[in-house]
Subunit: 214 residues, 2 copies
């Protein structure tokens, strides 16, 4: 029995790879774990059967034997902990990689979430044009610090890890804006991540759902 993940039956981003099942698919591909996918509609996501798996009515979820997990961070950490390929052997390096996973989700993503809300939910509001630059600057503040730490290294701390997988996934949400291109080393970092064979296999699998539904 393979683990089962849930994903959107219809892509909200027209197959751009931003839905969060990508993070989980990518981790499964990096660790060479086969998996099955159950597609859920936007309506099904808010119904009791799915809410029992995911209290916030979102995707992805992860079912493996009796274990049910939600939150892409928790699922990626689960996969990285139980299979080689996404965490270093050394104990301290392992904890630092997990630290970067949290940094991606709780330090870098929140201002990007705010920017996405400004663009998707408040674009028609009278304050949109004046406010957007403020929100973008809050994203830039974080990226400046991240770019300074990354410098000219390939990944955030030694070899590619679950921390890089999550950081690149979060930065990819900036694809629609040009902010990422202001930081050449971060743009190159994301490009390196996107060039990984495991990323491409994950992307293709998610894209196939979009094409199938279209």
């Amino acid at each position: 029995m393979h683990p089962i993940i849930t994903a959107f039956a219809r892509s909200p981003d027209r197959g751009q790879g931003l839905a969060r099942d990508m993070r989980v698919r990518w981790a499964l591909e990096e660790t060479e774990q086969p998996y099955d996918v159950r597609l859920v509609s936007f309506k099904e996501m808010k119904q009791p059967a799915h809410l029992a798996l995911h209290p916030f009515g979102q995707i992805p979820t992860y079912e493996e034997g009796g274990l049910v997990l939600f939150e892409s961070g928790a699922i990626v950490l689960h996969i990285a902990t139980h299979h080689p390929g996404l965490l270093p052997e050394d104990r301290d390096a392992r904890e630092r990689a997990i630290g970067w996973l949290f940094a991606a989700l709780n330090t870098v993503e929140p201002p990007i979430f705010e920017l996405q809300n400004a663009v998707l939910l408040e674009r028609d509001k009278p304050w949109s044009d004046e406010r957007l630059p403020l929100v973008k600057d809050r994203v830039r503040d974080r990226l400046k610090q991240l770019a300074a730490r990354l410098g000219d290294t390939e990944w955030l701390d030694g070899g590619f890890s679950a921390g890089d997988l999550m950081m690149a996934s979060v930065l990819l949400r900036l694809r629609r804006s040009s902010i990422l291109d202001e930081f050449a080393n971060l743009a190159a970092y994301v490009a390196r991540a996107e060039a990984r064979p495991a990323y491409n296999r994950a992307f293709a699998a998610q894209y196939a759902v979009f094409k199938g539904a279209a």
Copy 2:
């Protein structure tokens, strides 16, 4: 040698317990681990010595032997993994508790972060009065789902865990608003968390810094 954490030399919230070293102090108190504190000024936080520990120039950091961690989520997970008291014995229950830790940081906190930005950074903007209700509704959407899952249970999944510690810490950021009081079971949940002896020891330790600096 005890682990060393960093905290603000001057409280930005006048000792209300919201600075993120509270999350780490609380975890250390729950697991009965002694620790030392190094206070840093807002100026020191942005200088190379501190940036070497925390690339985003914030607190808390955690130093233990050769290990340096940043991100309160990563530090709390480290403490919970290495000392009994914050994670269940059962393997699946343990992973679910870690799932709640991620849910606190990446699903519940981002809209609260957005609300805090609206209040602290945009209060004097012309759009503030009209926009604030929208931002509050985004927080309410999450709290409704969380309240539905919590129901009338004491903690999120069995006994008190690192997931509850983080969820309560995140919800405490709503203290200045009345939103939490709209959800009686969540308000009671936070009150139960605040009543824990370990929380009170952590709060007193952080408050002593505020009083000492004042």
